[in-house]
Amino acid sequence: MATSICRTLKYLQPTTCQNIKCAVSLLDVRLPQPVLVPIRTKKRYFIPPAVNVKQKTQSEQEDKARAAGVVVRQQYIERAINIACTAGIFDPYVPPEGDARLSTLSKEGLKQRTEQLRQSAASQLAYRKIKDHDPEFSTKGFPALAQQIFIDAHAALTQFNKEKLHSLVTERCYPEMVRGNRYKTLRWRFIESLEPPRVVHARCPDMISKGNLYGQVTLRMHSKQTLAIYDRFGRLMLGDEDEPRDVLEYLVLERHLVNPYGRWRLHGKIVPAWAPPKDPIIKTLIIPGPKLKPGEDFEDLNYQVPKPKAVQWSK
């Protein structure tokens, strides 16, 4: 393969025009219209004053252009974004401690009932506002609808039907439901409802501009469900398909009230501070421990695994 170098260099070099070359790369100026500036390699006898000027900053060049009379139109970077849901749960409902654990007839139960009545004042205003925008809303009929939305949403999650899931669940809730589940198999079943679901809380926050109303309604649901999560290889990661569990949940549903095509969608769940801890997953995990110095021993440190604080959070 050893041939004369001149022949190959001729072959390898691109065809270059001797006189006129495209010199956009040589200029630093980014003019609003793409300009092909021809540069002469022939000696010029008259050199205009703008040619020898080099290494000017962007702002100086802009000033010069403006002084010369070149008008640059303002660039509008506009992109319409439709926000169909709020970013979180405003003024979240604080579930009373011992809910579904104490009977209503004891002293504790009566105290909680009085507290609930106090909280509901703001909720009544919110119901009024919601009824203004959505005449079909009622505290009696809404829970059944909401429960159906919940069941449909989770069924769509097991099948991973993206379109249906987006219509039943808000954009804030969707990533939280779906994250990490793409290559896993979920098996979920709603067996029955132990108590009729009821609306406990409502708020009507507005986002960005004053009239842009969203309605958030909290629903308390006590039901029996089964859940089993299998990993990519079909091995059980969490739960049991045949063992139903009693689940007390506080669901938050949201609707963009001002939008005539808005629908009630699942927005999140409230996990109370007194909720019992969840079951651990089947495989063992390593919790990263303290870094040991060369002479130290782990047993001597008496390291306590830090427990998370019992705080109400929403997911």
Partner: protein, 209 residues
């Protein structure tokens, strides 16, 4: 006199018979070892290696044996020769992951550092994303190198002559499987000879008296 006359046809027949015996030997040995009978070429595997991590198996029943996790990982366009990389890939094939990492750490080749990084990445991926319980419970089921895209440059020789120099790149692929590595039976020469003699003895002569 009659015994010394060997016709060409006879020689050809003997040659064919030898080839037949050799192929039968090869056939029998390959059925004993699991992988070598399937000719899986690197070209066919390498294009979709990343996609192999995305297959989802259906959930297993309780009576089925537990399926071991398989993690596929690769690195593309490594600036190293594929032939030199092959030595390292062959070295760690079949080892546990800890053993492979220690061997690569004390190996002086350039590719050893790269393969070690790839193995650590794959181990981390396995624990985080693929539900592997113990990170040491992995072994290397497959490991091979393949040719990447070469850049071409000119190598100048004397007298105006030149050669085209290839700037070599390679890809490296590894498949980690959860569990204990399968034991490979070491066959000695004596065993192989014994098998050969047994095969010779098992031959039957048809249409004989």
């Amino acid at each position: 006199m009659a015994a010394s006359v060997v016709t060409w046809a006879g020689l050809a027949a003997i040659g064919r018979a030898c080839g037949h015996i050799r192929s039968r030997l090869l056939g029998s040995s390959s059925t004993l070892s699991q992988v070598s009978c399937l000719h899986t070429s690197t070209e066919l595997n390498s294009k979709h290696w990343e996609r192999k991590n995305l297959i989802v198996y259906p959930p297993q029943q309780k009576d089925e044996p537990c399926r071991s996790a398989e993690i596929y990982h690769c690195r593309r366009q490594i600036k190293y020769s594929k032939d030199k990389m092959w030595y390292l890939a062959k070295l760690i094939k079949g080892m546990t992951i800890d053993q492979a990492l220690t061997q690569l750490e004390f190996n002086d080749k350039k590719g050893a550092k790269i393969i070690k990084e790839v193995l650590l990445e794959a181990q981390d991926m396995a624990v985080r994303n693929h539900n592997v319980e113990y990170k040491s419970n992995l072994y290397i089921a497959e490991s091979f190198s393949a040719k990447g895209k070469y850049l071409k440059r000119i190598r100048y020789h004397g007298r105006g002559m030149f050669g085209i120099m290839d700037k070599v790149h390679c890809h490296y692929f590894v498949k980690l499987v959860e569990g204990v590595p399968p034991k490979v039976e070491q066959k000695t020469g004596f065993d192989q000879a014994k098998e050969y003699v047994e095969q010779l003895r098992n031959r039957t002569i048809i249409h004989s008296l």
